[in-house]
């Protein structure tokens, strides 16, 4: 059960109602409490409480040494985090959105991801970088893109995408325990996701994908902001008698091929949901692996539901049109499953 915490089954104590944002905050609180080497740095993480209010109250609780506001200088504070990690601390760097992380890409790609290899294993960079990704909140193109697929192509880092309260609560601890850099993508539409969690945190892994719903006719593969849409689509398909299995990738690098292949080998059809642009996307990588590893199990071409290849638009209706929607996932599943006998 610890590997795939799918549900928040009743435990000894009554579960508490919480949100994705609060779950993240609790995870930070735990980390700051349990390990003096852990500290948080980034733009507006202290006095403002975080651009998305994840760290609200942490400055007051842990002080300025542990919760540090930085200038608007992604490259500088990410580099500072790398340096601190090299010297033995366990920094958590918060970058406001993935769009701005491009300013720190040199630090992440050329330093954080390479130093273990370039030092012949002498150096470790036990760094956690968190950032927001995704669209759907009318924040326009410069705050809304989904570039996590780019990061997922970089050897030397682990890339996580918590899409559930359990993962929001549970992924930070193993990420901090990882001796190498871990990048965590929080989809902006998930912060207000609410639900219940057990009082005691449930341990989660940061290496496997999770089957969030079992089914027999088609596998819907999603992550982060796409998971909710895939689950909704599975509900809709169930009313038509189509049994959809839903996989939450959770870990975007390294991909959990075994879970994907096993599921597609059962259902023989797959739909990959990815809010990012289709070209060269993570969805493309997943499809390639399915074809490589489960070709003879396929009963239909693998479908992709991806974001339109435009900078994410500002107007609400255009933004909706540019993003994968539940109806799109249902339609793709129909194409994959075909005429039912």
């Amino acid at each position: 059960m610890s590997r795939h915490p799918v549900t928040t089954a009743a435990r000894t104590e009554a579960p508490v109602t919480t949100t994705y944002r609060e779950a993240l905050r609790e995870a930070h609180r735990d980390a700051l409490r349990s390990d003096p080497r852990v500290f948080l740095l980034g733009e507006d993480v202290g006095r403002y409480g975080g651009s998305f209010a994840v760290s609200l109250g942490l400055l007051e609780e842990f002080g300025e040494e542990r919760v540090r506001d930085t200038p608007l200088s992604e490259s500088a504070f990410t580099g500072a985090g790398i340096g601190a990690a090299l010297r033995g601390l366990r920094p958590i760097v918060e970058i406001m959105t993935v769009n701005f992380s491009l300013l720190a890409l040199d630090q992440i790609v050329n330093n954080a991801a390479t130093l273990r290899h370039m030092s012949g294993g002498q150096l470790s960079v036990p760094l956690v970088i968190r950032m927001t990704t995704g669209a759907g909140r009318q924040l326009a193109a410069q705050h809304s893109h989904s570039l996590e697929g780019w990061y997922a192509s970089i050897p030397g880092i682990r890339v996580l995408a918590p899409a559930t309260l359990e993962d929001a609560r549970g992924m930070l601890a193993p990420a901090l325990a990882d001796p190498d850099p871990v990048v965590i993508f929080e989809h902006g539409s998930l912060y207000n996701l609410s639900g219940t969690l057990p009082v005691d945190p449930v341990a989660v892994d940061i290496s496997t994908a999770a089957v969030r719903r079992s089914g027999t006719d088609v596998t819907l593969i999603a992550y982060a902001g796409g998971l909710g849409k895939a689950l909704e689509a599975a509900d809709a398909l169930a009313t038509e008698g189509i049994s959809a299995e839903v996989i939450d990738l959770r870990v975007l690098r390294p991909l959990d091929d075994a879970t994907i292949t096993a599921s597609v080998s059962r259902t023989h059809r797959a739909v990959v949901v990815d809010e990012a642009w289709r070209t060269g996307s993570l969805a493309a990588e997943v499809v390639a692996r399915i074809v490589e590893q489960a070709f003879y199990e396929l009963d239909a071409p693998v479908e992709r539901v991806c974001g339109a290849e435009v900078p994410v638009p500002y107007p609400h209706h255009l933004e909706e049109a540019a993003l994968p929607q539940v109806v799109d996932v249902v339609a793709a599943a129909h194409r994959a499953v075909g005429a039912r006998a």
Binding site: L298, D299, A300, G338
Partner: protein
């Protein structure tokens, strides 16, 4: 049905390469016939227009029976004859020349049988990348014609759209994908389509091994037919022909030196092998010993006008073919080599022509490549002699009172004692030896 070998009594018309209304010229290949020995392309003896095909594909007919009627084209527009083959369907018989006189047309169509596919056609299909099973035959009884195969190759390839899973299931359950109608996008065949078909064919749901729906190739049996044919012929030979055998060991030093020199001047594809030298020398020698060149017919020897040198070719699949090099005594060594190459290639490909299978006047069995010392052969009746060659190899040899190492070959003769005596046979062997000592004169 032409005689494609002295022992041939009947043949199966495997494929028509022409149809009613087609103009044909003397020498055109018009049909494929399977004899007990081989599959042979039959050439037409006349020029004209095909008015009626008298024999159906797949039919076995005796030598001498008319296969088709040719005319001057006046009735070329007439519809193809129906199965009854009634003469009035093809215009005036008097106006038409018959390729072979006196043979009655078949009166009934043969029962439907698996579509015969000649090796020639199979080879062509492979060349063109056409799966013959998927081609609709337009010949009699749905038989494939060369035209069908070539048309299929030129058509835009219709490829079944089958999902990988469906293809795998179909193979497991023995479902023929060609019989399915796909319900997927663009008519693609999906796993469910295969499962539905599988349920129909196997009510128990049990998986049974794939059933081959391919027609049994017409040439699947030639080995045994050929074996039977060889058996009959050799039995006759041993029973009727009083054989005598002679051998002579020949020094090939000069011959091989000459050959190596010659090969330096030749393209790789034209280079000589010792067999060319041996055959060329044999053909010339036979010309000077006419008592061994001909046939024993009706208790008498009939000398042949030309030296048509039979060449025994063993097939990889087993069995023998004996195509002939016509007028072999008039060929140079280079030309002999070219003829050997052609015959070997055509025989192994199953594409020998009628003209390759004329009755030889004498036959050569060269078992040198098999490494044996000598061949004590069995004569092919009605011929009266067979020349054999063993392997060419370096052996000790006395030359001018000294022991030397020379490339030697043992030449043998099997002679029919009814037609000749040992002295005649000895003359042939000595002549072969003499000619091989002056290879430049061959």
């Amino acid at each position: 049905m032409p005689s494609l070998g002295a022992d041939m009594e009947q043949g199966v018309l495997v494929e028509w390469l022409v149809k009613v209304g087609d103009p044909v010229h003397r020498g055109d290949v018009v049909a494929v016939v399977e004899t007990p020995k081989s599959t042979v392309e039959v050439e037409c003896f006349e020029t004209g227009t095909v008015e009626e095909l008298l024999v159906s594909e797949g039919e076995r007919v005796p030598v001498g029976q008319a296969l088709a009627r040719l005319g001057d084209g006046a009735v070329a527009a007439a519809p193809p004859p129906d199965a009854s083959g009634s003469p009035d369907a093809s215009g005036s018989p008097e106006a038409a020349r018959s390729t072979t006189a006196g043979a009655p047309p078949p009166t009934t169509a043969p029962a439907p049988r698996p579509r015969p596919l000649s090796p020639v056609l199979r080879h062509r299909a492979r060349e063109l990348g056409v799966d013959p099973v998927t081609v609709h035959g337009t010949g009699r009884d749905g038989a494939l014609t060369r035209h069908d195969v070539e048309a299929a190759a030129s058509r835009p390839r219709h490829r079944l759209r089958v999902s990988p899973l469906a293809r795998r299931l179909a193979a497991q359950e023995g479902v023929d994908l060609d019989t399915l109608t796909g319900t997927g996008a663009e008519g693609s065949i999906r796993a469910d389509d295969v499962r539905r078909a599988g349920r129909h064919t196997t009510p128990s749901g049990r998986v049974h091994p794939p059933v081959s729906t391919a027609p049994r190739p017409a040439a699947a049996a030639p080995t045994s037919d050929m074996r039977r044919s060889i058996a009959a012929l050799m039995t006759v030979s041993n029973r009727d022909i009083p054989h005598y055998h002679l051998t002579l060991t020949v020094d090939l030093q000069r011959g091989l030196v000459w050959m190596r020199e010659r090969n330096r001047e030749l393209d790789m594809a034209e280079r000589l092998v010792p067999a060319a030298l041996l055959l060329a020398a044999t053909a010339r020698a036979v010309r000077s010993v006419p008592e061994l060149n001909g046939h024993w017919v009706d208790d008498g020897f009939r000398p042949a006008a030309d030296v048509d040198l039979g060449l025994i070719l063993s097939l990889r699949s087993g069995g023998l073919l004996v195509p002939a090099i016509a007028g072999a005594d008039r060929l140079t060594v280079d030309e002999t080599m070219a003829r050997i190459r052609e015959l070997t290639r055509r025989a192994r490909a199953g594409r020998l022509r009628g003209s390759d299978l004329v009755q030889p006047s004498i036959t050569v069995s060269n078992l040198g490549d098999q490494g044996v010392d000598s061949v004590l052969g069995v004569i092919y009746p009605p011929q009266v002699a067979l020349v054999g060659f063993g392997a060419v190899g370096d052996r000790p040899w006395a030359v001018d009172g000294m022991l030397g190492v020379r490339p030697l070959v043992t030449v043998s003769l099997a002679g029919d004692h009814r037609a000749s005596d040992g002295a005649t046979g000895s003359r042939l062997l000595r002549t072969i030896d003499r000619l091989l000592q002056t290879p430049e004169e061959l």
